[in-house]
Amino acid sequence: MTRPAKRTLTVWHDRDRDLALWLARSTGLERAAQVATRPLAKTVDVRGFPRLPAEIQEMLYLDKHDIIITLDRSGAQQPVVALEFMTHTPQSQHTKQRFCRLVAAAERGIPVGFVFPERKLSGGQMYTCTADIFYALQRLMDIHGVPCFGYFWPDRLGRIRHSRRHPSAPPEEGDMLRLFHLVRCCVEYALQNRPLTMLTGEGSLRSDLDENRRRGYAVPVQIERYDALSLEPTSRIVRRLAREYGLSERELPDFFLGREYSLIQTHDFRAASSREAVRTDPYAGMQAFFDYCFCRIGPSTRQRQYNLIFRARGVTFRQYADKYQTYWKRRCPFRSGEPPRDVPFLNLHIKSGCRYTKEKALRTYGYLSDMLIFDDFVLYG
């Protein structure tokens, strides 16, 4: 009797083959399937990005993951798990700014793992992890029904440690053993054609679920604790918009007016250089974090208890528009009117417009915000 052919798993990586191999070897994926490693292309890579599988392109819409594992299904790639690794000091915005990537996976029903230091010594100072990231992960998990776990990168007295064989990866100990178990569970479910949403009921992940919840609820996560946030009655905001921008209430969508309160996230870009006039890091990731901690009550951005408003102080519509014009001038394959050399890139634009290839600031703020307030303009709809 012939044995069934091994299935193929691909470990996609962000130009870090060493990390991909570390994961494949540490989790024993090679015993369950044939394993290949491939680099992810940036959305601005006009040759590489259009050639990525559509399922991967969709996941990269908001931001780029460090690792995505896919299972080959007759040429189509089923994403099985997405992972993010961070070695920066773990306080405040450093973990939050990566939250968009986790959202991009969880919103598509793909489990996520996020590895970051619990503490890190830098410049003689010890920085410790802000526990609210676990609360946001818990919310992400509750809303999308797939495992979304945080793990601590093993350290010794605040100095993060690395695998000896794979020096860009963590050592194979501590929380990493739980990460390996999550990856193995995700792969096993996919190989058995079981929905990944059933993983939240997987008995062997119960302790991880409990641990994530314990860490997430260890400290209260409240709007008042964040300087950038304010919660205001929507009616008051509408009056102010009429006064300051001449905006009529009738212009605003029903879903916006229907929410009694609005959460405003304000950041001041006035000190930024012109090139960074509307930069995304860390604010876009923080916006996704605030969305899940305080606004989101369902899987889509329409399902919110509060409107999510981003106020970009010091930014004019002209500067925001420049982001699009930069894309149009440099990369839009239709601009010259000549047949482009890269046909898949053209085809991607015919099918999706500039959905993936326009600047990240346009994609992330546009996707997440119910309203964007600039110095001279209000974007809504």
Partner: protein
């Protein structure tokens, strides 16, 4: 064409097989590497990051990798090795990185730092460098100038 990530990975595997320990590593898409911040001199406050540092016995290889040979890598390493405050910061950073590794004993030794570059195409061949050339298949060829011939047995 072979990518920078593949060049670096091939050299890392090559060194591990010969008993070197990697104490700092930064792939193009990753974090890490050896961070060097001179705290005085003309480059005070500047930030330099090396792609790979490998330690064996009393030697530490400080390496920059690219897909194609790049003279800017050589200029960066020359600066770090020659400018006194940069060199002091480099030595301190290498000692710190080595102290976190299994080669902890090395940090108490007077480490001899060696400049190295790696690439897959083009060429640069400075006398005081170890040069790793990576083929499209991932094979590594090593060359070294007379100034670093003492390392020949280790490579």
């Amino acid at each position: 064409m072979i990518s920078e990530d593949d060049v670096l990975f091939a050299v890392k595997e090559f060194l591990l097989e010969r008993g070197w320990e990697i104490v700092a590593y930064r792939s193009p898409g990753g974090h890490g590497g050896l961070v060097i911040r001179p705290d005085s001199g003309p480059h005070e406050g500047d930030l330099f990051v090396l792609d790979l540092v490998a330690v064996k016995d009393k030697a530490a290889i400080c390496l920059e990798a690219k897909s194609a040979a790049d003279r800017r890598d050589q200029e960066k390493l020359d600066l770090l090795f020659s400018e006194p405050s940069c060199r002091a910061a480099l030595q301190s950073a290498v000692r710190n990185a080595a102290s976190e590794s299994e080669a902890a004993r090395a940090c108490r030794l007077p480490l001899s730092l060696v400049k190295a570059v790696a690439f897959a195409s083009g060429d640069i061949a400075p006398e005081d460098y170890v040069v790793f050339r990576v083929s499209p298949e991932g094979d590594v060829e090593v060359r070294h100038g007379a100034a670093v011939s003492c390392l020949a047995a280790e490579l």
